[in-house]
């Protein structure tokens, strides 16, 4: 029987190749004869689409995957998913190269020979899991469960965190750490507001947006969400259009798109923010009412012992006058005046910082300075200001009674605390981890689990980290690839890629509404891989001898289904749907209606899978007492939180508050400032090396982010699509700097620090500050498969081993170098 394509399509009743068949079965709409299905499989191919969430960056975009005969062939944005509204970034498209990557780990592997030697043998799953469960049960029986550390580098904001946390707690270890840690990012807000939440910014209602180093169109939590907001605002014509001004040492994607780019000397963002504060205060462009009622430490003040303390205002007026700030930052004093006047006169105006301005030894203090401008302008909980989204109404995991071994284990000192009292507010610092493993303090580590991520590639302390990894008896890695870190694992348990996996992504930081997105398998696993979440259920339950179960679920998907019931029960928000805007939902809500009544949870769940997610754009208004959780219940210019912590450290160190002890502690913390100023937003100089004339700064191109996309050939090719450098690194230099060193475009350049040197091709353009060498991060892999290995250089490999003094974030912008033309 010959069936013409046209007739076949008519038979199926519509939509060209886009035949709406169920994803698992084939005949949900009409009864299609098997014969025709077979013909279609060999001919036109049966097309179907499935919604899921992209996991290639923390952004959490909804995506639609096009399947032909069940094989994914194309990915586009999910137009009804509110985070990205159909938009995507280059990374998302290359997810297919992740799924079908020839370098995927296809079965469990066991290290043979020397660590890092690259020799592996295949195991079957039972063998691999037996080795691990034997070891961890043994540790529990010996009362040492706390010697297990779990590093989660997945960089995803969803339910996996709670899942791993439950595993670790029930097992009996306080050592579950995420990196990069959002709690670290939130430290500056925590110090000023006592609130560890990442704020959201109401771009849509702001007249003026001033950003310090934060590359929100390319590097931040959700670049596509911000691109959507940005292009919407840029598309509006007329007088009232939001004006964007961006401060950065290099013309990043965000600077290039801003109405104005202000180049600045690296590491001096805080000084510029306070220079702007100087003008705002002098010219009375501040929100005096807000400052009076809801802040503390603005004016000089007297404590309960009658001692006078310096206030924010007098500190700024004495130290940050524009001429001095020009000396520090290289930004002309007229420019500082202009910025402050624009900021103070265009209400509402917003100030945000991060990335380039935070990845320094003085990052926390700089972010405090930047964020203090929002307090001067009274930018909290108002239109065009800063706000906080509500938690999603997910059901908590069922209560579980820990046994005595677990109770004792979690009481142990967490491994993340620094030995030499550095980083007093670090949630997790890789440097602390390395030092503690090497010193075996407070206790030795017996098992290290690493879930995705590649800390060894990102670290500034490469050699010591390798020594630390070698020291741990059992390193188990859950990953789909062998990367630099996994080279030192004893066992690799191959995970599914996100296109084969279940998960829930919820409330991506800085996105302006609460939401959940469903990550569901679009294809059956193509290799012998297993979901890490399911493995943790098995290991976690086994540790309790399967009598009482920390995870009373068959598998991870039952667990997330259980938790999503909370969303169904709450009756809040709505499943994402076409043409439903936030304002319309709000309108209905005010009149007592809500969208979507579902007959049963199953109906809710199925619709959720079909559409891709749930959101609630309606936000509960929060009082200032809710967002300012400081001792004074106000925004604290003078951080009592920081003061109390440092006092505690000093107290632990000595008997009295002798100046000797204080000096010792501040010296260890690398804080050069003394007196009250320490606790106020201030500019803390970076300890550069003498004789090194050039600032080394790095940035993360959107096609690679933190180095994890180097195994995707399309992203390697597109790595430098803006500067036309494919599969390779380059160094951006200002024409003035280049001519001073006799360097021309496309010359090879040596970049040399006290720690070593790297070679890259010069790209000379005026979009970078003089005396700055800007090198993209992401390439320079020594492992990670055929597409990643030996392409480009890793700038982190020559950086000094420096960290933010307060939160322990690697200071990737704080090294100075020499440059020279390579012969």
């Amino acid at each position: 029987m010959e069936i013409k394509r046209r007739e076949f399509l008519k038979l199926l009743g519509g939509a060209s190749g886009a035949i709406a068949l169920g994803s698992f079965g084939c005949n949900q709409f009409i009864d299609v004869p098997d014969k025709i299905i077979e013909i279609a499989k060999n001919g036109a191919g049966i097309e179907s689409w499935k919604n899921t969430i992209c996991a290639l960056c923390p952004g959490g975009c909804g995506i639609k995957v096009r399947l032909i005969d069940g094989i994914p062939v194309y990915i586009k944005g999910n137009p009804i998913y509110p985070v990205n509204q159909g938009g995507m970034c280059p990374l998302g498209h290359s997810a297919l190269e992740l799924l079908f990557n020839p370098d995927r780990v296809k079965s469990p592997l066991k290290k043979i020979g020397l660590p890092g030697g690259g020799k592996w043998e295949s195991l079957n799953w039972d063998e691999a899991l037996n080795i691990i469960s034997k070891k961890i049960i043994e540790l529990r029986n010996e009362g040492r469960p706390h010697q297990v550390v779990f590093l989660d580098g997945s960089n995803q904001h969803g339910l996996m965190k709670d899942h791993i946390e439950r595993f670790m707690k029930a097992y009996g270890s306080p050592n579950y750490f995420q990196f990069p840690s959002i709690k670290n990012d939130a430290v500056p807000y925590h110090l000023l507001q006592g609130n560890s939440k990442i704020p959201s910014y109401d771009f849509l209602n702001a007249k003026y947006v001033l950003s310090f180093g934060i590359n929100y169109l390319e590097e931040s939590y959700s670049p596509v969400y911000y691109t959507k907001l940005y292009s919407y605002l840029r598309g509006s014509t007329g007088e009232g259009r939001t004006r964007f001004v961006h401060i950065d040492s290099r013309m990043s994607l965000t600077s290039a798109n801003a109405d104005r780019w202000i180049p600045i000397t690296p590491g001096t963002y805080g000084a510029l923010a306070l220079g702007i504060a100087f003008v705002l205060i002098k010219e009375k462009l501040i929100d005096a009412n807000f400052i009076k009622s809801h802040t503390s430490g603005y004016e000089d003040w007297v404590d309960k012992n009658g001692i006078m303390h310096l206030g924010y205002k007098n500190n700024v007026l004495a130290n940050y006058y524009p001429e001095r700030v020009f000396q520090i930052t290289g930004v002309q004093s007229e420019t500082i005046l202009e910025l402050a006047r624009e900021l103070g006169n265009n209400h509402p105006s917003l100030v945000l910082g991060g990335d380039g301005s935070s990845n320094n030894t003085n990052g926390t203090f700089s972010q405090m300075a930047v964020h203090s401008l929002n307090a001067l302008l009274g930018n909290f909980e108002k239109d065009g200001g800063i706000f906080y989204v509500d938690e999603t109404p997910l059901k908590n995991l069922p209560h579980f009674e820990l046994d005595d071994i677990a109770k004792q284990g979690i009481e142990q000192n967490p491994f993340g605390n620094s030995l030499d009292m550095a980083f007093p507010f670090a949630d997790f610092s890789i440097q602390t981890l390395i030092q503690n493993i090497l010193a075996e303090k407070p206790y030795p580590i017996s098992v290290l689990f690493i879930y995705k991520g590649n800390p060894l590639f990102q670290t500034l302390n490469h050699h010591e980290f390798i020594e630390a990894l070698k020291k741990i008896p059992l390193v188990v890695s859950f990953d789909s690839f062998i990367n630099e870190t996994n080279e030192y694992a004893n066992i690799i348990l191959p995970d599914h890629t996100f296109l084969e996996q279940w998960n829930i992504i919820s409330n991506v930081p800085s996105v302006g509404f609460s939401h959940i997105g469903i990550q569901q398998p679009v294809i059956e696993p193509i290799y012998d891989t297993r979901s890490s979440a399911d493995i943790l259920i098995e290991l976690g339950n086994k540790a309790y001898g399967n009598n009482t179960k920390p995870f009373p679920f068959e598998d991870y998907v039952s667990e997330i289904k259980y938790r999503v019931e909370g969303v169904y029960n709450s009756g809040e928000g709505a499943i994402v749907t076409e043409g439903l805007k936030g304002s319309w939902l709000e309108f209905l809500n005010q009149r007592g209606w809500h969208i979507g009544t579902y007959d049963s949870f199953d109906e809710f769940w199925n619709l959720l899978l079909e559409r891709g997610g749930w959101w609630n754009p309606i936000r509960k208004k929060k009082g200032f007492s809710e967002i300012f959780n400081t001792p004074t219940r106000k925004f604290e210019f003078y951080s009592q939180v920081l003061k109390n912590r440092i006092d505690d450290i000093v107290k632990k160190k000595g008997i009295d508050n002798s100046t000797h002890d204080i000096e010792f502690v501040l010296g260890r913390l690398n804080i050069k400032t003394r007196g009250d100023v320490i606790f106020l937003p201030h500019h803390e100089p970076i300890p550069y090396d003498d004789g090194m004339p050039i600032y080394l700064t790095t940035f993360q191109p959107i096609t690679n982010r933190d180095g994890h996309a180097s195994n995707l050939p399309l992203m390697q090719e597109m790595f430098g699509f803006l500067t036309r450098h494919y599969w390779t690194s380059w160094v951006e230099l200002n024409p003035e700097t280049a001519s001073a060193y006799g360097i021309s475009d496309d010359d090879w350049v040596w970049i040399e620090s006290v720690n070593g040197s790297i070679k890259a091709k010069a790209k000379i353009h005026p979009g970078v500050m003089p005396s700055v060498a800007a090198v993209p991060f992401g390439l320079g892999h020594t492992s990670y498969g055929r597409y990643a290995k030996d392409y480009g250089v890793n700038p982190n490999s020559i950086m000094k081993n420096l960290y933010d003094t307060i939160n322990g974030i690697p200071a990737t912008q704080s090294t100075k170098v020499k440059i020279s033309k390579a012969k």
Binding site: G14, P90, E97, P102, L217, A256, E717
Partner: protein, 227 residues
Amino acid sequence: MSKWAMVIDLDKCTGCGDCIAACKIENNIAIVDPEEANSGRVMFWIEMVSVYEGEFPNIKIKRFPKPCFHCENPPCTKVCPVHATYKNDEGLVGQIYHRCIGCRYCMVACPYTVKVFNWYEPEWPVEFRKCFNPDVSVRTKGVVEKCSFCAHRLIKVKEEVDLEGRDIQDGDYMPACAESCPADAIYFGDLENKESKVYNLAKSSRAKREMENLGTEPKVVYLSKRE
């Protein structure tokens, strides 16, 4: 008869490169050897052009995505000795790969330099061959290729509306780049349809056409407030 055109709003475009990635995956475009790529043989059907303007520190950057312009009066079709590149009734400039003899006259004739040549047999690992787009043929060594405005999508859309017994509406036919742009900066539609977005945007005071003086009448129009 329709006349398909693209309007790119440079006031909204951020230069993120999503269009390039979407295009490469949709059209099964080969990834060439890294060294060859850096010597100018990289294959993008749409690329991102950056031009710096002004003196430091008052720098502005002009950045625009550049697909094939599908000229109404295309210089490339006139020089092809074998009629491998041609303009069809709907204004699309097409490329017939198996007819192309690889002389590259069209590449020289194109003032916008949007055509690329397959210097090598495209190579993919076996695994990647599974996820080719079945609607687009894979090219061979020695042929010229370029942006097709995703013409294979038009064929599907025509079948679709035919079955539904209606005309093509604005928005039915979208190339991959326009569909996935996160900045909503790429519009696509029919210049003959007075209701279409592109018809109206192409008449806007911000509309600019590249190298208009050549008389090529490009059907990719840029919108920008800047000169």
